[in-house]
């Protein structure tokens, strides 16, 4: 059963939500706490319900996976909606990540993806800000948001500290790329991916 509630951030008084460590979260997962239809991820200690994917979202995930598999060589592999052991309080399941090595190199979840991709429609602000802050803090150097609302690719790089609320981190470099642009992943600088190939 999944119920979704919305932000308390805009309301006083602030709610001191309890934050769960990744260790405890993994015990919950191992104990079978979450059923198949109970899609959650741990983000900054909070258990976040993952929204059901629409058809365009699902298509964009497959497009990103296909494009990245082509762009990255055999020294990397692409994972789709798989857990990342990001930090002590976070175990997100990004739409697509690229990690070093092959699948057999990871008896435990990978923790340092070279590229994270989220496909965003209704979750756009959440993916940009909250998730972006968590990824920046964890030192993710290359974070892409496939923005289905505006039909563009947003590329976030250069994680830096910030004084604003949230995780205390953000990306200093934000680029918005239209369909006709191309993008090279930081970890595969010689590859060129057409933005149009990522958009439904």
């Amino acid at each position: 059963m999944v119920a979704v509630s919305f932000s308390y951030a805009m309301r006083a008084p602030a709610i001191p939500l309890w934050r769960m460590t990744r260790k405890r979260y993994e015990r919950l997962v191992d104990a079978g706490t979450f059923g198949e239809n109970d899609r959650v991820e741990l983000l900054d200690g909070l258990l976040v319900a993952r929204e059901p994917q629409g058809s365009l979202h699902a298509m964009a995930v497959v497009l990103a996976r296909t494009a990245l598999e082509r762009a990255f060589g055999r020294r990397y592999h692409v994972r789709e909606e798989k857990p990342v052991a990001l930090d002590d309080l976070s175990e997100p399941e990004p739409d697509v990540v690229v990690v070093r090595g092959g699948p057999r190199d990871y008896r435990t979840h990978p923790s340092s993806p070279v590229l994270v991709v989220e496909v965003a429609d209704s979750s756009l602000a959440f993916d940009r800000l909250r998730k972006g802050g968590v990824y920046a803090r964890a030192g993710v150097a290359d974070y892409w948001v496939v923005n289905l609302v505006d039909d563009v690719l947003e590329v976030y790089r250069e994680p830096v500290r910030t004084t604003s609320r949230g995780t205390g981190w953000k990306f200093a470099s934000v680029r918005r790329l239209e369909r006709n642009a191309t993008i090279s992943p930081l970890a595969a600088p010689r590859a060129r991916i057409r933005v149009a190939s990522l958009l439904p």
């Binding site: 119920a3 509630s5 805009m10 001191p16 919950l28 909070l46 976040v48 602000a125 959440f126 800000l129």
Partner: protein, 192 residues
């Protein structure tokens, strides 16, 4: 400031109890389940603890036999809430609650210092929704006791309910409880 929804997954009370059974949560951790969210209970200062002790003594004396005054014990409030109010007065004997936490308290009391706004608005709305008829806040900031009664629906409140009748009592005043209107509790006896 930009705001955006944080779609947190909510917990049921049954799941929350299971976390304790699994050992993922420890029974003595300062956590309460309120409206499906796990909330960190604030550390209690010495005036807070003193007020809890004073209030427990006063309520035990006022209610007498046939009632149990529980201190920071869990309440099975609703399907998604298991708060641990500073004090709860429930009918019966201690052993009546050996298997299940009490669900229908006659009176809940929170001692509030930094948590005053939270206890008033957030917990107040949750307790009102659950039909708790008598909710007191021992307000250490203003040195008064607030009596919250008459739950009524209010869509603007956190959980869709609030107390329609809120009265403030100063030291020197006495409060009669809803469940035992024949006895009174002196405000001065509750404040440190």
């Amino acid at each position: 400031m930009t705001t955006y929804p944080v779609p947190t997954r909510r917990w049921t009370r049954a799941e929350y109890d299971r976390l304790v059974e699994l050992g993922v949560l420890h029974e003595d951790e300062p956590i309460e389940l309120l409206g499906g969210q796990m909330i960190v209970a604030e550390p209690k200062g010495t005036p807070h603890s003193t007020a809890i002790g004073l209030t427990a003594d006063a309520l035990r004396a006022a209610f007498g036999p046939g009632w149990v005054v529980r201190v920071q014990g869990p309440i099975a409030l609703d399907d998604e809430s298991e708060p641990e109010p500073d004090l709860a007065v429930v009918s019966g004997q201690h052993r009546d609650y050996l298997v299940e936490h009490p669900a229908r308290p006659a009176l809940l009391v929170e001692v509030a210092e930094p948590s005053l706004a939270f206890d008033r608005r957030y917990k107040g709305s949750l307790y009102a929704r659950a039909g708790v008829e008598d909710y007191w806040i021992v307000n250490l900031v203003d040195e008064v006791v607030e009596v919250h009664r008459s739950p009524l629906p209010d869509p603007t409140s956190e959980f869709g309910w609030r107390y329609g009748d809120v009265k403030t009592f100063r030291p020197g005043a006495s409060i009669s409880t809803l469940s035992r209107p024949d006895v009174t509790v002196a405000v001065a006896d509750l404040l440190p």
